[in-house]
């Protein structure tokens, strides 16, 4: 009987826990939102590009501008220009870097971000170590709170069943004493079963409800499979794009130099880093710590300004093991050269990688970030297209191929294609129906363009 009891209690507790887990999936996650939207410029506890965020809500409240802070978040320049806010002016004066508007965040989401930063405690352990190999963790945020939910629910369920078990034993004892008949074979399961059979309508409702719920849930989850938006793996060197591409204004293709030649944009080899870092030994944020790792990798002795050599005269090198951020499945052939070369599609890197100049480590942007950036003046100048599907999904690729136009006069290659299309009236009319030629119309939706 005890066995059956345990079995049943486990089943029930699993059900409950699943429900909890599902709920937490829908709840606003301040931490995630912070990391996705704010962390590139803000640190909760110290000033970075933006001011530290912990206690910020309190400050604005103290200044009597509790409501205005939400306007600030959604559109800083609008609030500043309106002149309504003292706090806005103070921040504006504090740093010349304008904050990226976060209009896509709802008030509840912003609130959850504030809750998160106000409760944030900086981690004790330092990031990175002596080794140049990256950690294997998928992301920095271990879902520790989730684990607690699981443990607590287990304990609760266990206690519940223990109490119920005791109650049952007592009932049995009372029944025995009173000489009443007590069916020893009846278990929780049978009682529950009988109850469910008696209340068949509730049962039906329950079943339908559970089925609907899990169906929707499964569908939603399935859609998230293989979606890497917002994926930012830890890296052996805390390289900052914000510093190099943003502040220093170094062109993307200086480091990712095979982007125009190859399908790979290329993770820069250390010798590219050493073009500058043979001289630059100290950075603004981490001092010498991170740059020393580069020197170690390339075998450079910064004191002697020379490379360490082995007995055969080769440099004592130690390759850096990076964690790849942008992963495509093996059966997808994406060519950077096709997309960024000036004679081909000539697309700006930010179309797919978002405002990298505001990120630190290599990271997959979210479509919202890219769209937000596309809406900025810079984004429009760069001709960025707004898309809807999550980044690095096939839907996203073909959406763009459907929207992106090709200028048939742009190169000798397309001129030849244009000449041929004109030979066939039917095809010509179909393609030029809407006076524009998209990638799709020239075969950009065909499977073997990317899959082989």
């Amino acid at each position: 009987m005890i066995n059956k009891l345990i079995k049943f209690s486990v089943k029930i507790s699993l059900t409950i826990v699943m429900a909890f887990a599902a709920l937490s999936f829908f709840s606003q996650d301040g931490e995630k939102l912070f990391k996705a939207n704010c962390a590139s410029c803000h640190n909760p506890v110290k000033n970075a590009t933006g001011p530290k965020m912990q206690g910020v809500l309190q400050k604005w409240t103290d200044a009597g501008e509790e409501e205005l802070i939400y306007q600030w978040v959604s559109n800083p320049s609008k609030l500043y220009n309106s002149g309504k806010s003292k706090m806005a002016k103070a921040i504006w004066d504090w740093s010349p870097t304008a904050m990226t508007p976060q209009g896509h965040l709802s008030r509840e989401e912003v609130e959850s971000i504030f809750t998160y930063v106000d409760n944030y405690a900086p981690p004790v352990a330092a990031i990175g170590g002596g080794s140049l190999a990256a950690n294997d963790s998928l992301s920095d945020d271990a879902n520790s709170s989730d684990y607690w939910w699981w443990i607590i629910s287990f304990i609760l369920v266990f206690v519940l069943f223990a109490i119920l078990g005791v109650r049952r034993e007592l009932t049995a004892a009372v029944a025995a004493k009173e000489g009443k008949e007590f069916d020893p074979t009846s278990t929780f399961a049978t009682t529950a079963q009988q109850w469910l059979l008696r209340n068949w309508f509730v049962t039906m409702l329950l079943i339908v409800g559970v089925a609907l719920f899990s169906g929707v849930e499964l569908f939603g989850r399935a859609y998230q499979l293989g979606v890497y938006e917002d994926y930012m793996p830890s890296q052996p060197v805390a390289y900052s794009h914000k510093l190099h591409a943003g502040k220093m204004g170094i062109e993307c293709k200086y480091c990712h130099h095979s982007a125009e030649k190859s399908k790979h944009a290329g993770i820069p080899s250390v010798n590219v880093c050493m073009n500058c870092h043979a001289i630059v030994h100290e950075g603004p944020e981490y001092g010498t710590e991170e740059i020393d790792k580069l020197h170690k990798a390339s075998g450079y002795n910064k004191n002697k300004q020379a490379y360490n050599l082995d007995e055969f005269g080769d440099r004592l090198e130690e390759p850096i093991v990076w964690n790849k951020a942008h992963n495509l499945p093996d059966h997808v052939y994406f060519s950077h050269a096709q997309h960024v070369h000036s004679n081909t599609a000539n697309i700006d890197c930010r179309q797919c990688h978002g405002p990298v100049q505001t990120y630190t480590l290599g990271r997959v942007s979210t479509i919202d970030e890219v769209n937000a950036y596309a809406a900025t003046d810079d984004g429009m100048e760069r001709g960025l297209i707004q898309l809807t599907k999550p980044l690095l999904t096939m839907g996203w690729c073909i959406e763009c191929h459907n929207k992106k136009e090709i200028d048939l006069t742009s190169s000798g290659y397309y001129e030849e294609i244009h000449k041929r299309i004109k030979l066939r009236a039917d095809v010509n009319n179909k393609i030029f129906e809407d006076d524009k030629v998209t990638v799709k119309e020239l075969g950009g939706w065909e499977c073997a363009k990317c899959h082989y």
Binding site: R221, G266, S298, W322, Q338, S411
Partner: protein, 1099 residues
Amino acid sequence: MSKTKTYWKGYSEKHQTPEFSISSQKEFQDDVPVDEFLGSDGIDDLKTGRRDFLKFMGFSVAAATLASCESPVIKSIPYVNKPEEITPGVSNWYSSAYYDGNDFANVLVKSREGRPIWLKGKRESFTQGGLIPRVSTSILNLYNSSRLNGPSVNKSSDSWSSIDKEILKKLNNLKDKNRRVRIVSNTIISPSTKSVIQDFINKFSPSDDSVSGCNIKHIEYDAQSYYGIRKANENIFGKGFIPSYDFTKAKTIVSINADFICNWLLPSKFSTDFSKARKPENGWMSKHFQFESVLSLTGANSDVRVKIKPSEEILVASSILSSLNNQNSNSSLNEATNEKIQSAVKSLLENKGNSLVVAGSNDPNVQMLVNKINYQLNNYGTTIDVDNEINLFNGNDEEVDSFQKDLLSGKIDGVIFYGVNPVYSMSNGSEISEAISKLDFSVSFSEFMDETASVCQFVCPDHNYLESWCDLNPGSNNYSLQQPLIRPLYNTRQAQESLLVWSGLAERSNSESQAFYDYMRKYWLDNSIGDQSSYPNFADFWNWTVHNGFTASTNESIPSILVFNDYPVQINPQENALDWEYIVYQKELGVGNHAANPWLQELPDAISKIVWDNYITMAPSDCYKLFGIDTSDSKSAWDGIHLGQEEKAFVATLKVNGKEIKLPIYPLPGQTSGTVGVSMGYGRGENNEDIGNAAFQADEYGNHLTNAQGGLVPIGANAFKLCNFKNGSVSYSGYGDVIATNERYSLAGTQTHHTIMGRTSIVKETTYDFWKDNHKSNQEAYNPKVKLHSHEEGGHSEVNATEFSLWDEHPVEHVGHRWGMSIDLSSCNGCGVCITACHSENNVPVVGKDEVRRSRDMHWLRMDRYFSSIEDDNRKEWADSNKVDGDFDYGNLEVPEENPSVVFMPMLCQHCNHAPCETVCPVAATTHSNEGLNQMTYNRCIGTRYCANNCPYKVRRFNWFNYRDYKKFKNFNPNQDQMARMVLNPDVVVRSRGVMEKCSFCVQGIQAAKLEAKKEGRKIVDGDVMSACGDACPNDCITFGDWNDPESKIREVSGSDRAYQALEEVGVKPNIWYQLKVRNIDEELAENVSSDESHSESH
């Protein structure tokens, strides 16, 4: 008398055996292998019920869903210091050269991020783009994980420095004691290597008589000897050389058992040259007579093929010679052979000075006769160039024989083996092995612990050719350079460097030691090798030579004045003591250097289409006699056809001089009655030598078979045992005994797979004379369009089949690109390089013998071999009634199907514009692109196999297993080997289980070429895009390009008079055209051949 040409893929189809009828109805010849998926033969005993199964499945789905939420972190390691010439994701090409003692070819190697992954012949070079499958697949040998990792002494590994010390000690000891040492190598065609060997000899055996030293001699030894040619030339012209043969100029070619397209002397060049003279558009076509015993690839390509016995080679040669001199030859040859000899002589005389006679025999007497014939025909100076010698095969059989005798009698104290494996390739291997193991000093430079290395004291493994520098001098007017494509994968050292270190001329620094490179460069500078004068300095010259891979020689060659000496030829009729004559021939596997190469093992033999096996070839009629099968009723006789695939093959023992080998019998059409043939190159690793997993037989679960002693079982048997030293040279044929056994053996063949259901218009052929008369005026006569009957517009009419279609026109014409291919069947000689090139370019899985037997070979491109024979109706009647018809006795005539003519036809996805596969796919995984490609999208495919069922060409392959990690394929699939996995092409995905795959027209190359054109802002021109098969094809049979470009070559040839499309009547509008085959036979059968063709009986 009407004659009908029938085409058949094998005897079973020819005679419509019951098995054939059943198997031809099946698309996939086996049921779904459910128990193999689960991988256990005890599956029936399991107690897993349906409910349990559902539970497991439910759990698995849940687990898989949960597991897939977390993606693995992928590491990425960029260069620390990126080499300037490497861009990740972009291929680099380097010139190099292949030489292994048996084959030579100039090659261009494709390298990705420092890994050589593909190669093709280099067009502007000595071999002019020539390639054979052995060279094409050699890239995989580099990654064989059985290669030795470091040197060893008595099989225990040691460091190079301590081995060097020990060897030096031994050498000095031998020197002090005045001992005899022999360096036995393959023919060295590298001038620097020769110099290295000489330096080594000088160091330990000084020529100065006052100094004592050991007696070191260098002996060159070729596994397949061509000593007969050198010896004959020595006798006739006073100089033991091999001249170069020019098949491009020869208008009549007579070959007596020389398989020059695939194996003889320098096939990588001859095959290309031969094909150049086989295009009727040249205005002439060579006429090729082949006299041979085993139907070889060369025989299959000949215009007139005559079956002779090996002992008759000399008779044929002498008969040709005496006929040239208008003498009567009183040879014992039969009438049919004599008749063919006369027509050959007639043709030779017509083209006097532009003909060529070659012989494959190693008997100097045969070669002397051939020399005399060529001399008489004034071929010296035209088709035979005596000033440009071929430096290959310098082995002297007499010298090798005396070395053997010395070794066996203990007269030799030390031996160094370089590039040879005499324990395997000498007929008395086991005695040699014993003798070597008794020696005081023995060194092997072998890359593997092979038969010879495992009995040597010291094994100092050499680099693979893709890891080494070497200069090669294959012909006297050419110096080729071999350059390394990759750092040494293992702790090996180039043999030349070892010798240099021992001679004290260099020191080994590290694994990337360049000692020999420096030596070689200095040697070139000091000896002014090559055409250095046209460069400002040596460094420039050197860099360009490395870049080009070769340089011409500027050595002022003094034209040789050869004095013809009518050396007497001995024609000793051999003692005919036994019933059978045997011949040891070479096929795809060569002399056995590549036995562990799964790509080569899985390449179907050009004629028999057997993979992974060795067999005895025998005339079918002999086979029935030997095994006592009643042939009185022809139908029932052919029911017992045992090709080994559907019905297990007979096994017989071949006994020669007390030695015997036991092998299955393959009934080969075209084999001379009374003879048997065995291929050399098999039976490697008889004593468990570790030469690579793929060299051994595996059972149906992929585990190696073991013999009674627990040892591994090699594939096939070693036919070198049957060779013997006779009258001053090694003989590869003789008399023997064939004894039937009761055993049966399964062979895996592909010839009955994917049958084409008796449809016509697949292969078309005509004769040169007929073509010449008609190609301008009446193409219908030899290239008829298939007509269908129409009743439209009130009346019966015949309309071209291509005008009917169920589909709407697919808009590929004149829009964007339309990729098309044309294959010239006339210059295609069926060598199979396209298959191996496709295999390595597209990561096609190797499936092994057992899976091939289940018709699950994965080749994206196959080489269909059709036998054809002209039947006349009277014979049929005669055969039916089994009696003499009137006063004409058909019984005395040669049965045509016993010496059929052969057509080779590369068959691959035809990329139909009206593709039947596309319309039946339920998930739209196979679709049509507007560039005319039939696209296959693996990630959409759910494996219904409807498409394969609906394909009229049977070119779709179903991926049955996870070949890359299922244990069944562990011993031969290269993807399962950590090392061999490096050969994968990163531009093509490795397909997983459950999807269809097929030729993609190398879409990766198309995409790359388009990108290149876009980047340069220009249109695509001919030559930008080439499929792997066409790129590697040594004969330029394959034209590939953009049909929508009016200036393209493909547009031109697709409209040529020889162009047709396979099965055009099914109306699928392929994007592949074939150019029909033209034979140079002058019989008056032309119109019958072209119009009455029919493909056996319809089903």
